[in-house]
């Protein structure tokens, strides 16, 4: 494994924070969210900020942008952008800087894009605000940056609205928006979390390229240690609002000082697939020749149709996990939503415990719902913002007759299982970090003790330690209850750890199908091979702080 070893001591400082502290002034006890954070990022440097979910990574980045939610206040410290303190700046002065000098990519692509504006327009808007470029030029640059972030079918996407794009596509729009003006500092808050590995790799090299050309400083927030290993010059590790350790990447990965860092690294899942569990004979879910075509519309001229799932078939037996991997926009979520019957499949059969639910009506479906649960990609929106966590958690059990008090007790237990404090029950979704919300969503699904759990990128937003806990939790539940899981992910490490079987999707079709070992170790399809090759940090054995002793999967030749 080759780490970056560039030295930046001579480069000028792009951004530094000194003693940055953030409080919640209106909350009883005025809890401190950030405690004296000192971070320095030099021109051309990539700083990775890692740490458990809720440790304050996003708050740090928002503080730099001057976009903290009203509830949060910077109580002390300085934020220097090229030696200019940002905190005393007026709103208008800050506005000038944003996007032009410091740009940010947000964590949740679904909610971060304006749902009623075309994405092309949203990209062009940045140029409109900060440059005098003529419209045609703006458009050309938008198209070009969209191509650079490897969006397919750029002309169509340019004209699309966010809801017409897959999660990964949306995130690429966000990235395009942030990069288009070539800022001094780019803050990326988990920008590749929603992306498949190939795209991730492209984006990472894109950022690197930009960095090389323009000396952009990058503050990269992630929990993906593979990514850290690939891109970081310097790593900062955060916990409970504090920096517990920082140093050059190799140093941190080889000789972690803080216990916390060691734990964190030890939780990184291995790329070598675990042995598949025996295949039972009780088929809980069988999908046959599933097709989904999104289509048409348009006031005057018919928009092109998208064949998002093509003849997808698979079977799943009790207690096993099926992974679906594939690049962004390959139709993974579409398959998941069809199985859940949140959308109506265009054709095909979905046999749940022997019964075809593909054509059932809303009401006829209700009894089957309990057996079939889902965790969505987008944690913010899948929780009702007006409901307390408790209400969200007990909704399902109450629906199927569990007494309220029992459900509440179970909810409290479940929260500890997913690693949240019990007092979280009374709070509202907006008061949690992205990862915390996702754990709540998982807890909610598992509360139902389903036969089949569809997890659509359910752990993508989690930091590795929590991810490990959650994966363990799922496994444990699977053992105890025999839940079968359809696990959609683009993280091959996660797939390797959790899946018995894997199917690989590309442009709506299944291109490869086999046990995890077959698919990940000896991939048959070129596309699968390219996926594996793109997995970041695959040469590093994080748990043991050293290079991989041997390659456990076939070297693509």
């Amino acid at each position: 494994m080759r780490f970056k070893t560039r030295n930046f001591d001579t480069s000028s400082v792009a951004l530094s924070t000194e003693d940055l502290s953030v409080h919640l002034p209106d909350t009883p006890g005025q809890p401190q969210v950030l405690k004296q954070i000192d971070v320095t990022i030099r021109q051309g440097e990539t700083v990775c900020l890692v740490g458990e979910s809720g440790s304050g990574k996003s708050v740090t980045s928002l503080a730099i942008m001057g976009l903290l939610p009203e509830a949060l206040k910077v109580t002390e410290g300085r934020i220097n952008l090229q030696d200019r303190d940002l905190l005393p700046l007026s709103r208008a002065q800050m506005r000038e800087l944003r996007a032009a000098r410091i740009a940010m990519i947000f964590q949740e692509p679904m909610t971060a894009l304006n749902p009623v504006l075309r994405v092309g327009g949203q990209i062009m808007e940045v140029m409109e605000l900060h440059t005098q470029l003529p419209a045609a030029e703006r458009r050309a640059r938008a198209i070009s940056i969209m191509e650079q972030v490897h969006l397919p079918d750029v002309e169509r996407v340019f004209r699309s609205y966010p809801h017409q794009l897959s999660g990964g596509q949306r995130q690429r729009i966000m990235i395009a928006m942030a990069l288009v003006l070539e800022p001094v500092l780019l803050i990326a808050d988990e920008p590749t979390t929603a992306l498949d590995v190939t795209t991730q790799q492209q984006i990472l090299s894109l950022i690197e390229e930009l960095q090389a050309n323009h000396g952009t400083a990058v503050l990269f927030i992630t929990h993906d240690m593979g990514v850290v290993a690939e891109i970081a010059d310097t790593v900062y590790v955060m916990k409970h609002g504090e920096i517990v350790e920082h140093g050059p990447v190799e140093h941190v990965l080889r000789q972690p000082q803080a216990d916390y860092t060691r734990d964190l690294l030890a939780s990184v899942p291995s790329l070598s697939p675990r042995p598949a569990r025996p295949e039972g004979d009780e088929i809980v879910l069988k999908v046959e020749a599933l097709n989904k075509i999104y289509g048409g519309g348009g006031i005057l001229k018919k928009l092109p149709q998208t064949h998002a799932a093509k003849e997808v078939s698979f079977t799943l037996t009790r207690g096993r996990t099926l992974g679906i991997v594939g690049e962004s926009g390959s139709g993974k979520s579409t398959v998941a939503r069809c199985i859940m019957r949140l959308i109506d499949p265009t054709s095909g059969r979905i046999m749940l415990d022997g019964q075809d639910i593909a054509g059932l009506s809303r009401n006829a479906l209700r009894p089957h719902r309990k057996k079939l649960q889902v965790v969505f990609q987008d944690p913010m929106r899948s929780l009702n913002p007006r409901w307390t966590i408790a209400e969200s958690l007990i909704e399902g059990p109450l629906n199927y007759g569990t007494p309220r008090s029992e459900a509440m007790a179970e909810a409290a237990r479940m929260l500890t299982v997913v690693g949240l404090p019990e007092n979280a029950l009374k709070r509202y979704p907006h008061q949690f970090s992205g990862g915390q919300r996702q754990r709540i969503a998982i807890a909610r699904a598992v509360m139902m003790r389903p036969d089949v759990l569809v997890a659509d990128e359910a752990v993508s937003a989690l930091d590795v330690s929590v991810q490990a806990q959650v994966l363990k939790l799922l496994e444990q539940l699977q053992d105890e209850l025999g839940i079968a899981i359809v696990f959609i992910t683009h993280d091959l490490r996660v797939a390797a750890q959790i899946c018995d079987e894997v199917i690989v999707m590309q442009r709506g079709a299944v291109v490869e199908h086999g046990t995890a070992a077959e698919v990940l170790v000896s991939p048959a399809h070129a596309y699968t091979r390219s996926l594996i090759e793109a997995a970041p940090g695959r040469m590093w054995d994080f748990q043991n702080f050293k290079e991989m002793p041997e390659v456990t999967h076939a070297n693509p030749s």
């Binding site: 949140l342 209700r366 719902r369 929106r381 929780l383 007006r386 307390t388 399902g396 509202y428």
Partner: protein, 291 residues
């Protein structure tokens, strides 16, 4: 967590409003004003110095004088007594019209917004309903049932319903695509529960606005109806018909409109302030923003 018995979560929003924990000074004054007005109208028979019907046409349109603190109207009836008593029926009609049209509109609107299949039929029926003038409806209803408060409320309410329906439907159309609604479907929540617990709160903000608007306009429409012979008897004082009767004397004795008008405006203003406060309280995100 305390061991005290928890109120059921359905009650919590209600308790939060009643408990008035975060209310600023505005909503508190509003609550006080509203309480005073309601109390005054309830106690009107005891507070009013005169029978609101007793007249002396020879002492008409007089300014404040002994025995008539606010003067007399065009029949020589005591304005103060009429305004006090007038609040009763006005508030009953206003509140009933607002509540009935909001509730019916809400139910129909949610069904139309949520079920694609029902939408077209319901909305076309609403289009038709919207076209029937309240006056015609009122005259017909009065003819069928005789003049009664019920007929008036029905005549005012029926044309309002389609407007509420449209509003609710518009909100539901947007909200039903939210992933949390899909999550609720996956959790096996009945359609009823999804509508009432997930989608209903989204409609609250616009409904408070529309509801108070209906309340105010019902009180005014009642007067128009009674002057077209299709409302409650003009003998029974209401703020609406006091103002409508006072209309012809606007230039020479504006008090007839002023007093009931002020009462009505205060009522509506208070209800709006309280409605906003209640709504902010029901939306945790806003509570935060407001601090």
């Amino acid at each position: 967590m305390s061991q005290a018995p928890q109120p059921s979560s359905a009650m919590q929003p209600v308790l939060r409003v009643i408990g008035l924990p975060h209310l600023g000074i505005g909503p508190k004054i509003a609550a006080l004003v509203l309480a005073l007005i309601v109390a005054a109208t309830i106690l009107a028979p005891w507070l009013a110095p005169h029978d609101p019907l007793t007249m002396d046409p020879l002492v008409r349109l007089k300014g404040p004088m002994e025995g008539h603190p606010l003067g007399t109207d065009n029949y020589g009836r005591d304005i103060l007594s009429r305004v006090l008593i007038g609040g009763r029926l006005s508030l009953v009609i206003g509140i009933a019209a607002a509540v009935v049209s909001v509730i019916l509109g809400l139910v129909i609107g949610m069904i139309a917004g949520f079920f694609h299949t029902a939408d077209a039929i319901i909305m076309r029926m609403m289009d038709a309903l919207m076209a029937i003038p309240a006056i015609l409806l009122a005259i017909a209803l009065v003819a069928l049932n005789g003049p009664s408060v019920g007929s008036v409320i029905a005549a005012i309410t029926i044309p309002e319903i389609p407007r509420v329906v449209r509003l609710v439907r518009a909100v539901v159309l947007g909200a039903r695509e939210e992933p949390y609604v899909e999550a609720a479907i996956a959790l096996g929540s009945s359609t009823f529960k999804i509508l009432t617990r997930h989608l209903l709160p989204n409609t609250l903000a616009p409904l408070i606005v529309q509801g108070t608007y209906i309340l105010a306009s019902a009180i005014l429409t009642e007067a128009i109806l009674s002057f077209l012979g299709a409302g409650v008897s003009t003998e029974t004082p209401t703020w609406g018909n006091i103002m409508a009767e006072g209309r012809q004397f606007f230039r020479i004795k504006p008090d007839l409109i002023l007093y009931p008008g002020v009462m009505l405006s205060l009522c509506i203003l208070s209800i709006n302030l309280l409605g906003d406060a209640a709504r902010d309280m029901l939306d945790p995100r806003l509570k935060k923003r407001a601090g």
